[in-house]
């Protein structure tokens, strides 16, 4: 296992910046997840680590060596593909043995390490099967065993769970994470699924439009998002557009004045968490802000309900309330009051969604 360093890595295709100036350090044994919507550059970044793409600028270091221009077969990276990419003509054991044969290990060594890798993923009993005779979940574990058998310096996971059904996905998440901890594997995973990212990662890297927007722990990203994009992508956000008028005063587009933390005057976006907004039939006392509004839409989601409340002709927020069976349940058309403390809201400069190139 080794430490990974991406040093100001960029990849350009003509005028298109697939990845812009990404710097990232992954410590020995750390599990880092690259999270972002499709086309954000996370897969390109992973492929640069694996060696399938050479960066236009910057360098990639694995352990003590600079591997920027090294072809994939000279790096020691274990890669698990979204499609698993098992060799269809080779048995499970032969698939796992492939990387070891390429390393010219002795027959006895190979047999021992194949058995060990298959034991890790609990597939010893299927060693003789062909990939097409396995279920999706089993194929996924063969792919993992194949990547682990070479004892890689780094494990790279490219959306490894997206082809599994929802229930299996939750189990495999935990399995992979436990295995990673137990073996002390330096791991980089790519996903667009925030729940998956939050469950598995030691640290997350949120990317958008080729650039890193924020690097941090789950708590960092949720409690202190760096910009509006992160606030909307990690956890949920509900936003009020407007301007900061003076110290602690924010005026929404619809003309509502709310109290907020201090920020530089000018156009701004106030970001709120739907689950941290209070809702009541009466005006709320003891909070910084309490605004009346009209319920426009309610969606029942089982454990919680989303209530869409219009505060003014151009301001609408979403409030999430827990369904405990004893609480207040607003109806469409009802007048309600929404409250939050100034500290619960975050302010971002307007237009911070797009990349400021």
């Amino acid at each position: 296992m080794a430490r990974l360093l991406l040093d100001h890595v960029s990849k350009r295709y003509g005028d298109f910046h697939a990845v812009r100036d990404v710097t990232l350090e992954v410590a020995d044994g750390e599990f880092v997840v690259l999270l972002g919507p499709s086309g954000c550059g996370k897969t390109t970044t992973l492929r640069m680590i694996a060696g399938f793409i050479t960066p236009t600028a910057g360098s990639v270091h694995l352990g003590e060596s600079d591997v920027t221009t090294l072809p994939p077969w000279k790096r020691n990276a274990g890669l698990v593909f979204q499609s698993y990419a098992l060799f269809p003509h080779l048995s499970v054991a032969q698939n796992v043995a492939f990387g070891l044969e390429m390393r010219r290990l002795g027959k006895a060594d190979i047999a021992a390490r194949v058995a060990e890798a298959l034991r890790l993923v609990r597939l010893e009993h299927l060693a003789g099967r062909l990939p097409r005779q396995l279920s999706g979940g089993q194929q996924q574990r063969v792919a993992l065993a194949r990547a682990l058998a070479i004892r890689p310096d780094i494990l790279l996971l490219d959306e490894p769970l997206s082809n599994l059904d929802a229930k299996l996905r939750q189990e495999v998440r935990v399995e992979i994470r436990e295995l990673q901890r137990q073996l002390g594997l330096t791991t980089v995973m790519v996903t667009h699924d925030q729940e998956e990212a939050l469950t598995m990662a030691d640290r997350l890297v949120v990317m958008n439009e080729g650039a890193v927007r924020q690097i941090g722990s789950q708590r960092d990203l949720y409690e202190r998002p760096a910009d509006r994009f992160v606030a909307g992508f990690v956890g949920r956000g509900t936003f009020l557009e407007g301007r900061i008028e003076g110290p602690g005063r924010f005026r929404t587009e619809g003309g509502l004045v709310v109290r907020c933390a201090d920020g530089a005057a000018g156009s701004a976006v106030l970001a709120l968490r739907p689950e941290r907004l209070e809702i009541a039939a009466m005006p709320l006392a003891g909070v910084d802000n309490s605004l009346p509004g009209k319920v426009e839409f309610v969606s029942y989601l089982g454990a919680a309900s989303d209530v869409h409340v219009r505060l003014s002709p151009s301001d609408r927020v979403i409030v999430q309330i827990a369904n405990r069976g004893d609480g207040f349940t607003p109806e469409i058309g009802a007048t309600v009051h929404i409250g939050w403390s100034a500290a619960a809201a975050r302010l971002f400069p307007a237009g911070s969604v797009g990349h400021d190139a």
Binding site: A50, G51, F52, W73, A85, G99, M102, A147, I150
Partner: protein, 306 residues
């Protein structure tokens, strides 16, 4: 309890089996009606003439009166295999067909790979270009090669003009000319057979091999080649059969001295009217082609399908 469950299990299994059988019966009926037209055409156009031809190959030929006489004799086959002239023609044909197939495979694989993997929006155009040689008839194409290969042709004119040779090279009417000519025609069949199979092999499988430490040569040997094998076999057999049975190219580029099996058969039928011997040569040619194709197929499959 267990007994009843098992019994019920057996009954439902039986029922399922019967339904499956009936369904299969239905499928068989449809399959039969769908394949009937082609089957009938092949039967009338190929099998029946072959049977007649085989019968003819056992007949006798009276040279003086140019007449076929009913008989049951292996004399025609004996004549073929005891006369070195004819066995030489057979060996030459085999040599040309095998060489052509090897050339097509070596040249066709990289081309097919590029075609299969290209992201270019001109892909369809590229495939058309590969098929282009087939748009030109055999005779026209051979005439084209003649302008290139002749003693005053483009190749010799260029080489002599550059002062690289003083005497014109003899390309025309050689085995080389015939091999080049047939290979050029057969290449599209090889490329298309390979391309369709390579397209079905995921790029990620190649990348998986690379990430596991395989360099491009090892990836090709361990992953691409075994997975492309069905296409290799199809292309190879197709090219080999076409090479064995080539007619126009050996006649036009090989000249009168250069004999291959195809022209030999035609010569016996049309030239000297010796139908029995022509029929025997046909069967030798067909048997050789079939035997080699099947043997090669078996060897390759045994080697790679463990």
């Amino acid at each position: 309890m267990t007994l009843t469950t098992t019994a019920r299990g057996n009954i439902s299994a039986l029922a399922a089996q019967r339904i499956a059988t009936e369904e299969r019966g239905g499928a068989r009926l449809t399959a039969a009606s769908l394949s009937a037209p082609a089957t009938i055409l092949v039967a009338i156009g190929l099998l029946i003439p072959l049977v007649i031809l085989f019968r003819y190959s056992l007949n006798e030929f009276v040279a003086q009166r140019k007449m076929m006489v009913e008989a049951v004799t292996l004399a025609n086959y004996v004549k073929f295999f005891t006369d070195p002239y004819y066995t030489n023609v057979l060996f030459r044909t085999l040599r040309v067909a095998i060489t052509v197939t090897a050339i097509c495979l070596v040249m066709g694989f990289p081309l097919a790979y590029v075609l299969a993997r290209t992201q270019s929006r001109f892909k369809n155009l590229l495939i058309m270009l590969v098929v282009l040689p087939l748009f030109v008839g055999n005779a026209v194409r051979a005439a084209g090669w003649m302008t290139l290969f002749g003693s005053k042709g483009a190749i010799n004119a260029t080489l002599m003009g550059l002062g690289l040779i003083s005497e014109p090279l003899e390309i025309m009417y050689t085995e080389t000319a015939v091999i080049i000519g047939i290979a050029a025609v057969n290449l599209p069949f090889m490329v298309l057979s390979l391309q369709s199979v390579i397209e079905g092999i995921g790029r990620d499988v190649e990348e998986a091999a690379f990430s596991l430490g395989a360099n491009p040569a090892a990836m090709f040997r361990r992953v691409l080649w075994p997975l492309a094998l069905p296409g290799v076999l199809a292309g190879t057999i197709l090219t080999f059969i076409l090479g064995m049975n080539a007619y126009a190219t050996p006649v036009l580029l090989g000249g009168p001295q250069f004999q291959m099996m195809g022209p030999l058969v035609y010569g016996q039928f049309a030239g000297v009217s010796n139908w029995p011997f022509g029929a025997a040569i046909s069967f030798v040619l067909m048997t050789a082609t079939l035997l080699l194709s099947v043997t090669a197929n078996l060897i390759v499959q045994r080697r790679y399908r463990r």
